[in-house]
């Protein structure tokens, strides 16, 4: 059987749709930040991201060479919680970007719930949901905007990798 015979088809289809939905939300936020604040290139903000300590979510258990389903689902869930926390820390960047940020946060949270419910159904969910790691301190409007550009860029890479994992898991 395939790598994910224990995962229902419906779950994989829903996850793929949720990933595509969140990718579309994230692109909207990126377009908004570029249009309103002229912050269009994450590669211009790497040093700042480094100094602010903006984290990336690992997906090491999901690599196709060493896929480990329970660990992969857990990393997916924790990664989504991390990005949701980062997005909440960035609230208030600007009125123009607020709707896109709110929509993105809600969709990321719902995707995390979809993963958590599946982990519970598989009996792989720890008793207590992981707590949120500490968020970087973003003290100025510019740091929140630059932080948003970086978080959006990290999230897109995370989603890209997640989509490839889901396609791999969906193979018969």
């Amino acid at each position: 059987p395939g790598p994910a015979s224990s995962l229902p088809q419906g779950f994989l289809l829903k996850c793929s749709e949720q990933v595509r939905k969140i990718q579309a939300d994230t692109s909207m936020l990126q377009e908004e930040l570029c249009a309103t604040h002229k912050l269009c290139h994450p590669e211009e903000l790497l040093l700042l991201g480094h100094s602010l300590g903006i984290p990336r979510a690992p997906l090491s258990s999901c690599s196709s060479q060493a896929l480990q389903l329970p660990g992969c689902l857990s990393q997916l869930h924790s990664g989504l919680l991390l990005y949701r926390g980062l997005l909440q820390a960035l609230a208030g960047i600007s009125p123009a970007s607020a709707p896109a940020l709110d929509k993105l946060q809600l969709d990321v949270a719902d995707f995390a719930t979809t993963i958590w419910h599946q982990m519970e159904d598989l009996g792989q969910a720890p008793a207590v949901q992981p707590t949120q790691s500490t968020m970087p301190a973003l003290t100025s409007a510019f740091q929140r905007r630059a932080g948003s550009v970086l978080v959006a860029s990290h999230l897109q890479s995370f989603l890209e990798l997640t989509y490839r994992v889901l396609r791999y898991l969906a193979q018969p």
Binding site: L13, S16, E17, K21, D110, T113, T114
Partner: protein, 308 residues
């Protein structure tokens, strides 16, 4: 001075209402010799009241209206004083029906506003102020367990629909939804729906174009049309399947269906048509393989096939 008390201020239409009016002792001393308390319903004097006096001088009168058939009326307790009847107290009476069970509850998810809108049929007129509330809770599977209650959605005045905002929704999970109707005579609840908002997304039709040349730039074959379509933009993230229907322009309701079709194509050659004929083409899509509703048919595209 006068005080009315009622068995109930709201009753079923046609039911009896009993009222009593007590005239306090110091009011009767207002140089009023012992008097008959009179009752008026609207402007009409009502017969059949029974009156007596309490030891402390208080006068009391009781009247029963056997079949109260007005949806709304004022009942007045009066005394004769000078040339006309003096109203001492007045009570508003209302009659109607308890709310019927709201029927045909249905919902759809609006992708533009990301809100879930549910509508229902309120049932027959109750003649009474009746409050409708759309109630829901987050759940799983077939909604046997209630996880979090969601804030009740109160429709704007007289509307029979309500929209639950995105922030109260948990997409891709089941939620239980029902309507509660309540007025002075009772409460009724609709049957409960159990649905995932994303399974009831309302899709707008796809956009259908006809192209003038085939991929290699050659003009289309006789009896063929080169087509291109795209699903509704806000639904691009949703996997869909579509279907096409066509018929010669002059015919009526003699559609030929081409299905299933993918939701995205660069170019599609539709053949087997009559040459040199104007065809009417329409397309619609639905979420697939995940559940969803079909969109409406797209506006008609009219195109003439080439000569032989």
């Amino acid at each position: 001075c006068g005080r009315i008390s009622l068995s109930a201020s709201t009753v079923r239409l046609g039911a009896p209402i009993t009222a009593s009016c007590t005239i306090s002792q110091n009011c009767s001393q207002l140089y009023l010799e012992p008097q008959i308390i009179r009752w008026k319903l609207g402007t009409e004097i009502q017969p059949g009241a029974r009156q007596w006096q309490w030891p402390d001088g208080t006068q009391e009168s009781i009247i029963t209206l056997p079949h109260f058939n007005y949806t709304q009326a004022f009942l007045s307790c009066c005394l004769q004083w000078g040339s006309n009847l003096q109203i001492l107290d007045q009570a508003e009476l209302r009659a109607g029906y308890p709310p019927a069970i709201p029927r045909n509850l249905s919902c759809f998810m609006d992708l533009m506003t990301s809100s879930l809108t549910c509508q229902w049929e309120p049932g027959p007129e109750t003649h009474l102020p009746t409050n409708f509330t759309l109630k829901s809770f987050k759940s799983r599977g077939n909604c046997q367990t209630q996880e979090d209650a969601i804030m009740g959605c109160v429709p704007e005045d007289t509307h029979s629909y309500c929209s639950i905002p995105r922030k109260h929704l948990l997409l891709y999970q089941s939620m239980g939804i029902w309507v509660q109707a309540e007025n002075a005579l009772g409460t009724s609840v609709s049957p409960q729906l159990c649905l995932d908002p994303m399974d009831v997304v309302k899709l707008e039709p796809p956009t259908l174009w006809a192209l003038d040349s085939s991929p290699k730039g050659a003009p289309p074959q006789p009896g063929c049309l080169q087509l291109h379509w795209e699903p509704w933009k806000p639904s691009h993230f949703i996997d869909q399947k579509c279907e096409l229907r066509h018929q010669p322009q002059l015919e009526e309701d003699n559609w030929t269906l081409v299905a299933p079709l993918p939701s995205m194509t660069v170019q599609y050659e539709l053949c087997g048509l009559l040459p040199a004929t104007v065809y009417v083409l329409q397309m619609r899509c639905t979420r697939w393989p995940l559940p969803g509703h079909w969109s409406a048919w797209s506006p008609s595209l009219e195109r003439r096939t080439t000569e032989r």
